[in-house]
Every structure is written in structure tokens, then in C-alpha cells.
């Protein structure tokens, strides 16, 4: 496949062609464009996350969540030019069971292209990732692609006492962690072992090499009550601090968030399953939603795919341009603004540009 000089133009052309093909329906794509000095280094990848495949019994699964993943897979396969690879951002399953992981893996097997997997807490806390690892491999790893160093972390670990000593059964441990607002949960963390590995892994990487990290939980602290949180976020950020260009992508939050902390740009992924409220919608809690974030349109519960979707990421200049192409709303683009030094929503960043559905209360 030839690599176009101007990826932005190509994307528009793709969207135009795609919308013609689909008779004018908006494609739900979140594209992320990482830009490099040399256009030949530009590439894109697709990013699907949080599908929460949920078994009812036997061969029966929750139709709504199945449809979200099926749609994301089908649409990812329509991308032209083809993405270089696909990231699945974690929480493939709801209760971490073999039938759920198997069914999810089967749906994902229809994807054309190499898939890299990120561990989510819903995949992990039944058997501590054993079956997931059989299907998808290592729980943390790195790889290099066209001049970018990619790191995948398992950020949903927690205190050993909670994991190993607290619960009488593995099923209960999974159920306790599965409830987002469950006060019996425990904060996510990357942990010492993985941070040691990360330190060694990054030691081999030049400081001007763009680094892109995938984690399931935000590697920043937003709202502890719902685990929009990583307990050792600062320690992980410190390991990333020496690099010129760092981008962290995370799932878990089922909503659009973006932020800048020092040299690190953060962007979240939408879920394919269902959207979550922004934490300030919970009146009894304090939280720290990044001020930069222009929120998603409030979800319409009558349209079951509203406020869900998936993302395709274009990479050029080492920085990301994320196009959130929502199922039932106008497309959104969150791009790194070199002058401002942080990601910005291209259309809605200014207060006067925001629309009533983006106001949450």
C-alpha cells in the first residue's frame, strides 16, 4: 500500500467515499493521527475498546453489547487505507469467563489485520488473566512501529491483599471489581514489577522517539470512586517524563476525555458497549475531570448505540490527531496543538463553540 503525502486529505476522501457507500450515514470512527516530520512515517491504526461481552447463559449473550462490537469490527474493516494495526483497549468480557472471552475473541477474529490487546479489569479478576493470556499473549509488552515506540501496560492490578486474601471465591472477586461504583472495589495500579520493566524498556529508547502508551485505566487521577484512576500514576508519568513526545491512550471511562500533564498528552477511547456519565454527574463526590475536556454529547438512551463507538488513529509528527466519529452526533476531532502544547477539540474547544448537549449536570 502506498503511503499518501497528506493523510488528512486521504481521511476526508475516505470519509466521503464511505458516506457515499453508506448512503450518507455518519461513520462512527474515532481516528487518531500521529504526525511526523516526514510524511512517509505517517500511519494510522484503529482503536476499539470496552465491549463488555456478557453471557446470559449457555450460548446466549447480551445482544446490545454484541451489536456494539460487531459494528465496530465491521466498520474498522471498511477503513481505507487499511490501518497498520488494531488496538483492543480491554474489557472484552464483562465477568471474565471463558465463554465471554471466547465469544469476544470470535467476534474480534473477523478483523482484518494484526490486533494488539490491552488487559481490562473485567478480563482479569476471575482467573487473574490466565485465560486471557492463553488467547492473547503477554499482559504487558512493547513494540516499535515506523519510528514510534509503543508500550502496552496492564494498569488494572491492585493491592495483593485485595486480590489474594479478601474474597472467598474468584467469582466474588470478579463481581466486586466489576461494579464501577462498588465501595468494595480497589484502586487500579501498574505496580512495582511492571514499572521496573517499563524503566528498563524505556532505557533503550532515544528521548526524541515518540512514545505511545496504552493502558486500560487512565494513567492519571480523575475520580477514585469509579476507578477513573491509577494509584501509581505519578510514578508512571515520571518514567515517561524524559521523552519529548508522549501520548497515553486509555479505555475504561466509556467517554471522551483528553488532558495534558507535562509532556504527556492523554486521550481516552469510547466504549463499544455503553457510555458512562462524567463523574461530576454524581452530586455526592469530588472529582478532577481534566479542564481541557469538552464533554461528549449527553447520551440518548433511546438510541442504544448513542455515545458509543470506536476510534481510528492517524499518526504523523509524533503527535496524535483523534477524530471521534460518533454514531449519532457530529464528528469530533481532538488534535494535539503544538502552539498550545496540549490536545484541543478542533471544533468545540472554545466556550462559545460548545453546544447544549455538551453541558452535563
Amino acid at each position: 500500500m502506498s503511503h499518501p503525502i497528506n493523510r488528512g486529505f486521504d481521511r476526508r476522501q475516505f470519509l466521503k467515499n464511505a458516506s457515499l457507500t453508506l448512503a450518507g450515514t455518519a461513520l462512527p470512527i474515532t481516528m487518531v493521527e500521529l504526525a511526523f516530520a516526514k510524511s512517509s512515517d505517517s500511519f494510522n491504526f484503529a482503536y476499539i475498546s470496552d465491549s463488555h461481552i456478557q453471557q446470559i447463559k449457555g450460548n446466549s449473550f447480551v445482544r446490545n453489547w454484541d451489536r456494539g462490537l460487531l459494528r465496530a469490527v465491521a466498520e474498522t474493516n471498511l477503513l481505507a487505507p487499511r490501518p497498520d494495526f488494531i488496538i483492543f483497549g480491554g474489557d472484552l468480557a464483562q465477568m471474565g469467563s471463558k465463554p465471554e472471552l471466547d465469544h469476544g475473541a470470535e467476534l474480534l477474529s473477523k478483523l482484518n489485520g494484526k490486533v494488539y490487546h490491552v488487559m481490562g479489569e473485567h478480563d482479569y479478576y476471575l482467573d487473574l488473566g490466565e485465560y486471557w493470556s492463553k488467547l492473547f499473549g503477554k499482559q504487558y509488552y512493547s513494540f516499535d512501529h515506523k519510528g514510534v515506540h509503543f508500550v502496552v501496560l496492564n494498569s488494572i492490578l491492585t493491592y495483593d491483599d485485595w486480590t489474594f486474601n479478601r474474597w472467598p471465591t474468584a467469582q466474588q472477586r470478579m463481581a466486586e471489581m466489576a461494579g464501577l461504583d462498588n465501595p468494595n472495589g480497589s484502586p487500579f495500579m501498574v505496580g512495582d514489577k511492571q514499572r521496573d520493566w517499563l524503566k528498563k524498556d524505556l532505557a533503550k529508547v532515544k528521548k526524541d522517539t515518540p512514545v505511545i502508551v496504552f493502558s486500560h485505566s487512565p494513567l492519571q487521577k480523575i475520580y477514585k470512586g469509579w476507578n477513573f484512576w491509577t494509584e501509581d500514576a505519578e510514578a508512571v508519568q515520571a518514567l515517561l517524563a524524559p521523552f519529548d513526545k508522549v501520548t497515553v491512550f486509555y479505555g475504561h471511562v466509556h467517554q471522551i476525555q483528553y488532558n495534558q500533564i507535562g509532556n504527556i498528552a492523554f486521550t481516552s477511547a469510547m466504549a463499544t458497549a455503553w457510555p458512562w456519565p462524567y463523574p461530576q454527574a454524581y452530586a455526592q463526590a469530588q472529582q478532577l475531570l481534566p479542564k481541557l475536556t469538552v464533554q461528549m454529547n449527553r447520551a440518548d438512551p433511546f438510541f442504544e448505540r448513542d455515545a458509543t463507538g470506536w476510534q481510528c488513529i492517524d499518526i504523523a509528527t509524533g503527535r496524535a490527531s483523534v477524530n471521534f466519529n460518533l454514531y449519532n452526533n457530529a464528528t469530533r476531532t481532538v488534535a494535539y496543538d503544538a502552539q498550545a502544547g496540549h490536545p484541543k477539540d478542533v471544533g468545540y474547544q472554545l466556550d462559545e463553540k460548545r453546544i447544549p448537549p455538551q453541558i452535563h449536570y
Partner: protein
């Protein structure tokens, strides 16, 4: 005159013998009523996280952690998808039928009362804004 005073005294005695005045209550009463309310809130939280409310195992809390984004303070309001002014319990039933693939409840079903109590409790302190979108 003497007769009147006697009958008044008799009335007071009668009232005193049958418990407190209707408009009087004690701290014990307040505690008891709050306990009753909190028990119903707790029951509502239980239903909010129960896979038995619908038929596919999906629970309310999956989409609405801490009942967030249910906005009890805005109901009744015009619900464009229903084409009419609706109560919150009608929206609860919409969710029971659709994402939970289950059966709706009557408005005065004690389980509905418990779920509405839980939603209101999680939203306490927010001013009433009926009709707000």
C-alpha cells in the same frame, strides 16, 4: 360554668390517655422514620445492582453508577422520545424493557418506590428543576 370546666378536664385526660397529639412527634419518631426511609434506599441500591431486575443479567448500575445521569430533579419533563411529559418511573420502565430486556413495573410497585428513593438519595442536595433538559 363548673360543669364546663369539668368536661374540659375530662377531654384533656381522654387525649392524654391515647398518646401524643397528631402534630407532635419525638426524636425517636424522627429516627424511626429516617430508618424506614434509609431501609428503602438500601433496598433500592440492592435492586439497582441486581441482575434479576431484567432478563439478561444487565444491571442498572452498569450504565448509571451511583444512579448518575438519571436526573430525578428534572422530572416530570417533556421526553422527546415519548412525545409527552413523563415521570421518572416511566423512564425506569423504559430501561427495564430495553437495555435490561425485562418487564416494566407498576408505578406504585414497592420495588419502583425503592429505586426512585435510591435515585433521589444519590442526587440529594441538587435543586429541583422540573422540566429541565
Amino acid at each position: 360554668m363548673k360543669l364546663f370546666r369539668t368536661s374540659c378536664a375530662a377531654t384533656v385526660l381522654l387525649l392524654a390517655s391515647t398518646g401524643p397529639m397528631a402534630d407532635e412527634f419525638t426524636n425517636n419518631d424522627l429516627e424511626r422514620w429516617d430508618g424506614q426511609f434509609q431501609a428503602v434506599v438500601k433496598e433500592g441500591r440492592g435492586l439497582w445492582t441486581s441482575p434479576d431486575m431484567g432478563k439478561n443479567g444487565v444491571v442498572c448500575a452498569q450504565c448509571h453508577p451511583n444512579a448518575a445521569n438519571t436526573h430525578p430533579e428534572t422530572y416530570p419533563k417533556f421526553q422527546k422520545q415519548l412525545g409527552k411529559v413523563a415521570n421518572l418511573w416511566e423512564m425506569v420502565n423504559w430501561c427495564l424493557r430495553n437495555p435490561l430486556e425485562g418487564d416494566p413495573m407498576k408505578a406504585d410497585d414497592p420495588r419502583m418506590t425503592a429505586m426512585l428513593a435510591y435515585m433521589a438519595w444519590e442526587r440529594r442536595g441538587v435543586k429541583l428543576e422540573p422540566g429541565k433538559h
